[in-house]
Subunit: 375 residues, 2 copies
């Protein structure tokens, strides 16, 4: 039987994640495996936690990567905080807000949803009104809605929530590493992310942080966390000073994340964020030259996830297939109500470089011309 | 800041996992990341599922790796099957049986435990009596109890359960790849494992398989699975023919597992199992020459996990520390009631080679002599 791994082609990953991985990170993944309780590995864990605190701008003690993908971060955030009957407000304008609703509902939360049309921003007045009306145990929002390319006003919502008893939970799966995040300054209590977006490490880990306030809610639970694998009271004993075995940590993936964070700090986070902005603007300019329109209005656009409207008469799937097969570029399609209507172009982490923007624009131009000929 | 990854030493991993990783698997981990919906990656997934079926000896359609470590496999098995009030029998003689009890209890199961002293085998008559007394929805047992080195009689329990309505759930985290497992022939309905033991891939994935009977129980649930991340009805739509996005699969870890399974099939599973047996016997012989005694009686010993009694007057931790620092070998200590009383020596997968056995025995001899001098 042929070994399929030997013929893997290098694809330019410009979809909604995973993003391109820098060579140093690939190398890190293949470093010799150490035991999960090895003293040298514990040093690596300590530095990893410190780098995560820096990129999140938090002093939270409980800051570490969950042993699962970004969605496991969402599951961990909710399952540790929600007890049956807890009131949860989900601010929803895309797939990942919808997923929060599902996750919280399965845990027995009393879920209230404040919904906005997909692709449009959150109305802050409506949020404020809702929060003043009822005191929620948890208020949750997605920072970078990967399904639409909308940037949600997490700073402003944090300001509205300041001084309230609510736990403020923010999904930064697609934003962390590509946009500045100031967890403590923005009053965020719970934050999680994924490795395969702007951190440019392959998928498999979910960086997570809990504030003291979130820890107090967790420690005050009347019931055990209904998920042993993600129970933070147990995992904290491994990632904290006690080093008590819980589950075997995914050692080589953690090497990868360690290296990916180093790459960001070597360039400098400010420069990394600026590189995302600049390449986003270059992409928009090029797309507009091709006559393409963006789904999201200018002030609410994410730099790392660009939702482009598929022109009338163009078969979006055949364009994507041609980009993949002929030009070795991956871009994403739409999800849910936006399926068939948008393309999602990622400029995440290592992918956010001008040579990639140029390569995609040239390929897209050709694919669109071909698509018009066929039509 | 120094890059700690650059100074990782190669440690001979002879603890309870992770085990040594073959060079081909390290290389696989660093292959170029593909998108989780990329057509070429889907081909890799198909072959991976097929190889998992072969090593488990099952025809189950739902056979794939969970995106988490071995413990996530346990969580997935229980959370998909258990509904509040379901009766579950746990056969327990170690830490991992105890963990099953905790996991099932958190999900609202009515848990009944049949316990045997740690380090001793399961009494089949007691199991049969218990099963005849009450009709359990689920009967669960650990094949290779990693905390004690005891091999539990999963074939025989499967025979007792044949024709019953119970779902038979077996933990093969430490056995899969080192002992023959015949899932279908042994009437096992649910089986899960981990990658970092006898499969010799770094930790991070949990191969899992559900029989038709287990799927029927899952599909007949009255309540949603209270865990979105591990909901098999959703994940099956990604790993099955529909390819519906659920979460972003841990692509590079899956490359690693693909390669690790290839390594096993290239050598041939029968030869691999024999290599485990032979090295286990060589280890025992050497340990006995050193005057050391095994915890477990001969007929019930696992080849891949050898529990050795710490002699009176020897500080077990200082011996382990010396093995690690001077000889670059990791072995494990005891857990729970066996802490301080045993060492756990792993001969898992790539680790199970005679040169490793010899190297450990020589190192252990020196460390023991030193320890006696100190005492």
């Amino acid at each position: 039987m042929k070994n399929l791994l030997e013929d893997i082609e290098e694809i330019l990953l410009m979809g909604p994640g995973p993003s391109c991985v820098p060579p140093e990170v690939y190398k890190a993944l293949s470093r010799k495996t150490l035991g999960h309780l090895d003293p040298y590995f514990l040093d690596i864990m300590e530095e990893l936690k410190e780098m995560l605190r820096r990129i999140m701008n938090t002093r939270n003690n409980l800051t570490f990567p969950i042993s699962g993908t970004g969605s496991a971060g969402m599951e961990a955030a909710f399952v540790n905080l929600v007890e049956p009957g807890d009131s949860v407000l989900i601010i929803k304008n895309g797939v990942f807000g919808m997923r929060m609703e599902d996750v919280a509902g399965r845990l027995g939360a009393k879920v209230d949803v404040l919904e906005f049309t997909w692709g449009t921003p959150v109305d802050l007045e409506a949020v404020e009104k809702k929060i003043r009306q009822e005191s929620y145990r948890i208020v949750a929002v997605v920072h970078a809605e990967t399904s639409t390319g909308v940037r949600n006003p997490v700073t402003e919502i944090g300001t509205i929530l300041k001084g309230s008893d609510s736990i403020y939970l923010v999904d930064t799966v697609t934003s962390l590493g590509g946009l500045e995040i100031r967890m403590d300054d923005w009053n965020i209590d719970v934050l999680y992310s994924g490795t395969q977006k702007c951190l440019s490490c392959p998928p498999g880990l979910a960086p997570l942080s809990f504030s003291e306030k979130a820890m107090a809610k967790l420690n005050g639970r009347k019931t055990k966390v209904p998920n042993w694998y993600l129970d933070l009271t147990l995992i904290a004993n491994y990632w904290g000073q006690n080093r008590v075995y819980h589950h075997t940590a995914p050692v080589n993936m953690l090497y990868g994340l360690y290296q990916a964070l180093r790459v960001i700090f070597e360039e400098g986070p400010e420069k990394v964020f600026q590189r995302h902005r600049e390449n986003h603007l270059a992409l928009i300019k090029g797309l507009e030259k091709l006559g393409l329109k963006m789904l999201v209005d200018e002030p609410y656009r994410l730099p790392m996830l660009n939702a482009v409207c598929v022109p009338d008469g163009v078969d979006e799937l055949s364009v994507r297939r041609r980009l993949r097969s002929e030009f070795k570029i991956e871009i994403g399609g739409g999800l849910g109500p936006l399926a068939g209507k948008i393309w999602r172009i990622g400029l995440m982490g290592h992918t956010a470089r001008i040579e990639n923007v140029t390569r995609l624009l040239m390929a897209l131009q050709e694919a669109l011309q071909e698509s018009k000929k066929v039509a």
